[in-house]
Structures are given as C-alpha cells and as structure tokens.
C-alpha cells in the first residue's frame, strides 16, 4: 500500500470526480470532496517525509520499467509542490461549502465539485509525473476542468473570460505538445530523466532549440507571464470565489514548476542559460510585469481583479529569481511559489467571505464593512501585509532571498525594484483598507454580519500559516534549498 502512494495521490481524486456526479446531494458531494482532499494532504505529507529521509521515489506505473513505461518520479522539488497543491486544496475545499451554495445554482453544484476534483487530479498529476507526454495530458485535464469552473461564475462575463482562457490555454498546451514532439523526434524518448541524458548530444540542433522555444512560450502562457497574462485577470475576477482561491494558489504555481523542471532537469542549466540565454528574456519581462501590473492593480475598482493583477506582478518575482540563474535566486523563486500560494489563497478566501455577505467585491460596495466584518477584514489586512513583505510574514522571506540573490550579482537596480514594487503593493492594499475601514458604511451595508465560522476558519488557517512560515521558515527554506540542489544538479 505504502509504495503505491505516488499513484494513489493522483488516482483517488480522479475516482472521486465521477462519484461527485452520481451523488446528487450538494452537502454529501462536498463532504466527499473535502474528505478526499484531506486524505491527499496526508499522502503528500507522508511522501515529503519519505523523500526527505530516503531520497527520490521512482514509481513505475503497471510495473513497466522506465524509460518504456510511465514513471512517477518524486524528488524534493515536486513533492514540495505536491504538498502546496494538496494543502491548498484541503483548506479551500473545506471553505467551499457555503461559498459555492451561495454562488452556484443547486443542481450544478455536484458538477462543480466534479470539475473541482478533476482540476486537483490534473495539478497533482502534472507535478508527480516524470514523463513529458503525461505532463501534457494532465495539463489538459486540469485546464479543461478549470474552463468549466470559471464558466460557472455568476457574472455573465465569466462566460467570455472562460472562452478567452480556453482559446489561449489550448494554444499554450498545443505549443507544449509541439515542444515535446520535437524533443521526442531527436531523442526517441519521453521520460524526463532519459531525455536529460540524451539531449546534450543533440542540443546544438535547430530542432531542439525550436523545441525549447515552443515549450517556453507554451508554459509562459500557463504561468501568465507578461505579455501572455491576458486571460488571467478576467478569469480570476469572474470565476466563483472558491475556484478563484484554488486557481490563484495552485494553477500558475504548478505551471511554473513544470517550466523549472524542463529548464533545469530536462534541458539542463548549460543549455537553458548558457546556450539559449533564457535569463536575458526572463529578466526584462519580469521587471515589466512587476512594475506595470502593480500599477495597473492600483487603478482597479473590483478587488478580485485588483488581486488578479497583483498575482501577475507576483509571478514576476518568481521569474525574476529564475532569471538571476543563481542558486539563491532559484531558492527565492521556489520559496515564493510556496509563500505566494499561502497569502494569495488567504486573501482570495477573505474576499470570498465578503462576497458571501455583501454580494459584491466592487470597491465602492465595501464602504465601512470593517466594522461589520472585523475578522474577515483583519484577515485581508494580514494577508495584504504579507503581500507587501512586512517582516514576520512569508512575503518578507521570499523577498529577502530575492534581494540577497540580486546583491550577489551586484544588481542594485533590481534591489531597488523589489523595494519599489513592495511600495506599490502598499498602495493597492491601502485602497481597499481605506474604503473598508475609514469610509462611512452605506445604508445597504448596515445590516451585514460577520462571515460564518466555516468561512473564517479556513481563511485564518491560510493567513496563520503565512505568518507561521514567516517566523519559523526552517521547513520551507530547507526544503526549497534541497529542491534547488536537486534541480541544479540535473535532477538525477
């Protein structure tokens, strides 16, 4: 049983997805989904413990030996991502019951949870697999279910947002498929570890360079790296609140993990940074993403949209760390994947609670709600401070590593940029705080009560975690450093 955990992690949510459609009662379906997510979290915890104490786990599906069969390969890097995805899934699913009942018609709730479980299956599968084509398949499983979830949003613009994401996401996934195909053409293998061994011999060909270009563009679309982020703001703004929290905290992170896997393990540091000079492309894009998207966020009137633009900016931090092509920079990136998942997840959960009581997250509707919903707004402020990077919060830890990495390189302008964009974050978070705390409550808002406990607890769980790992960062930092060693060493 215990040595089948890598595959059970992916298969259990996959099997629960059709069960969700069979049971028609929303409460029952939610209970099953939440229970499954907690089971997955336990499995991810066991796997991480196993990897940290005994090293890499290689699981052969159906007993077919790699590189012929499909291999699931768990090392420090992807087990950490597995833990993030399953942890966020467990907390957000526990939160989802009331929020989903409020925002989605009763007869479609089982279908929503079915898509929800499929999305989690896809994300876990992408992370666990050691097979390049398997990545594409799971990517499409998670993407297709994501499109369906976004389209279930109450606002009619959710439909166009979902359609736009479907078109851009499919182009991105097809690009990834072309990249994988071209690499297969030159090496005759799809197993990542095997690819890593065979690629150096053919790396100086136009086919492999084209493959790297297709993969980078395709994955950038999924990561929402500027200028390929256009699908993200509308998708996050109009999706159901619970779905936004799940996606914001996991989907782009998993895509970024895949990019890291291809850049470092499969293609290798020498090829990615020595031959292709990907750092020279990523650096300006990250800088522009940080500056432009933080400024765009300041001018948003819908708070969900505001946080969505902030997400695109924060992705800039992650790619900035990669573009430094140094171990410290990469540590900062991986830490920010972990840390940003906690704080953005918490922030979107707080917004979901506001949506549940107020029925809107337009800025002008939130006047004076801090008096009515003190705990929810306190969670928002705490999450916002973490986003800014106040010491004792997780945001501080990852920015600290990024600044260290920039100092190592002697890139003073980048250090200034990180500090300056943190100030921009102060402005957009302050705009919400100002309206919620210092504006007089409108008549419509006078009857609003604090959010129910089942929404508050998960929100505070994530916010609390984002301070726990800010004060005692030994677990996240040491795992991130091990992950960097693994990626940098070629992952073998």
């Amino acid at each position: 049983m215990i040595n089948h955990l890598p595959i059970l992690q992916v298969v259990i949510p996959l099997l629960v997805a059709p069960l969700c459609v069979l049971f028609r009662s929303p409460r029952l379906v939610w209970s099953i989904a939440a229970l499954t997510c907690w089971i997955i979290l336990v499995i991810a915890g066991v796997l991480l413990h196993e990897v940290l104490s005994n090293g890499v786990i290689s699981y052969e599906i159906g007993g077919w030996a790699a590189p012929w069969g499909i291999e699931y390969r768990l090392d420090e890097a992807n087990t950490l991502v597995l833990l993030i995805v399953s942890g966020i899934a467990a907390v957000v699913t526990s939160y989802a019951r009331l929020s989903v009942e409020h925002e989605i018609a009763e007869d479609t709730i089982p279908l929503f949870y079915s898509a929800w479980m499929l999305c989690i299956t896809g994300l876990l599968g992408i992370t666990a697999t050691g097979d390049a084509f398997n990545v594409f398949v799971f990517l499409e499983i998670s993407s297709l279910s994501t499109y369906a979830m976004i389209a279930m949003g109450k606002d009619r613009r959710a439909l166009t947002a979902s359609f736009q994401y479907l078109v851009m996401g499919t182009i991105g996934a097809t690009f990834i498929l072309i990249g994988i195909g071209l690499m297969y053409m030159m090496t005759g293998t799809l197993n990542m570890a095997d690819l890593a061994q065979r690629l150096p011999a053919v790396s100086d060909t136009r086919t492999i360079r084209a493959a790297a270009a297709f993969l980078t563009v395709g994955l950038s679309l999924k990561i929402a790296l500027l200028p390929l982020h256009l699908w993200l703001p509308n998708a996050y703004a109009y999706a159901p609140s619970a779905a936004t929290a799940l996606l914001a905290a996991t989907a782009t992170k998993v895509a970024l993990y895949v990019a890291l896997r291809f850049m470092f393990t499969v293609q290798g540091v020498d090829f990615t940074f020595g031959q292709m000079r990907l750092d020279l492309i990523l650096l300006p894009l990250s800088v522009v993403a940080l500056l432009a998207m933080s400024m765009v966020a300041i001018f948003q009137t819908n708070v969900k949209r505001l946080l969505a633009y902030s997400s695109v900016a924060q992705i800039g931090y992650m790619t900035l760390g990669i573009s430094m092509a140094s171990a410290t920079g990469l540590t900062g990136s991986i830490l920010h994947i972990f840390n940003h998942a906690l704080m953005k997840g918490g922030l979107f959960l707080a917004l979901g609670a506001i949506m549940y009581r107020v029925g809107s997250v337009e800025l002008d509707k939130l006047a004076g709600i801090a008096k009515r919903m003190p705990w929810t707004m306190a969670a928002f402020v705490a999450g916002g401070l973490s986003l800014i990077g106040v010491p004792t919060s997780v945001g501080f830890i990852s920015k600290w590593y990024l600044i260290l990495a920039a100092l190592e390189k002697g890139w003073w302008p980048v250090v200034m940029l990180i500090v300056f964009t943190s100030l921009l974050a102060v402005i957009y978070i302050w705009r919400v705080i100002e309206v919620a705390y210092f504006h007089a409550a409108t008549d419509e808002n006078s009857g609003i009560k604090e959010a129910p406990l089942s929404l508050l607890l998960p929100t505070w769980l994530l916010i609390g975690a984002s301070y726990y790992f800010g004060i005692d960062s030994s677990l996240s930092t040491s795992t991130a450093k091990l992950a960097v060693l693994r990626l940098w060493g070629g992952g073998l």
Partner: protein, 118 residues
C-alpha cells in the same frame, strides 16, 4: 536537403499558421473554435508523419516484416485527439451559453454589450 522532400512539414506549418490566423482574426466565436481545431490538427500531422519510416509497414510481429513505422507517436496522438475533441465540445458548450446570454456570438458585439452594461 531537398525542400520538397520535407513536404509533410510544409503542410504542418501551413495548417498551423492558417489555424492560428483564424483564431486571431475572426470575431465569430464558432470560427475561433474551428481555427483552434485546424491548429491542433497540424500538430497531429507533425507527430504522425514523424513516426513514418520509408518502406516500413505496420508494426506487426510476423514472418518477413523487418522494417516498420514507429507506433508510439500514433498512440500519443490518439490521446491528443481525445483531448482535442473534449476542448472543442467544451468550447462549443460555452459558445452556446454565450449565445443564450448575449444573443450573439460576435466578439465585438459581446464586448459592446458589456461596455454598455457598465
């Protein structure tokens, strides 16, 4: 290398660009889905044609068969075709719902209606 000898790649590139152009240029959402389909089909052809070995037959274990085409890309593309069908059906389902809500499938008109509503 003989340019015409690589005609399968020319077809792939032609189809890919045609599909991509339709996705970008057409305001009609159904046509966008069709463009997306053509775009994906070009990649299917890329995979399938790369598995072909000149003079090779089907990969069957039988007397006298020594050269055969690589079946793996074909199997991969079976999966990719299924993904493509799922994407198309989901895309069309969303278009149907957009049509029910906005009474049009034209991108500009939808955008206009959203602008007016604000």
């Amino acid at each position: 290398m003989d340019l015409l000898g690589l005609y399968n790649y020319w077809i792939v590139i032609l189809l890919m660009m045609a599909g991509f152009y339709i996705v970008i240029s057409c305001g009609n959402l159904v046509k966008k889905i069709i463009g997306l389909n053509i775009f994906q089909t070009s990649v299917f052809i890329l995979f399938i044609s790369m598995g072909k070995v000149s003079g090779g037959t089907a990969p069957i274990l039988a007397e006298g068969i020594t050269r055969f085409s690589n079946p793996l890309p074909h199997v991969l593309i079976l999966t990719a075709i299924v993904v493509g069908v799922a994407t198309t059906s989901l895309g069309l389902a969303i278009v149907v719902r957009i049509h029910e809500t906005y009474n049009t499938v034209n991108e500009d008109e939808i955008h206009q209606q959203d602008e007016d509503a604000e």
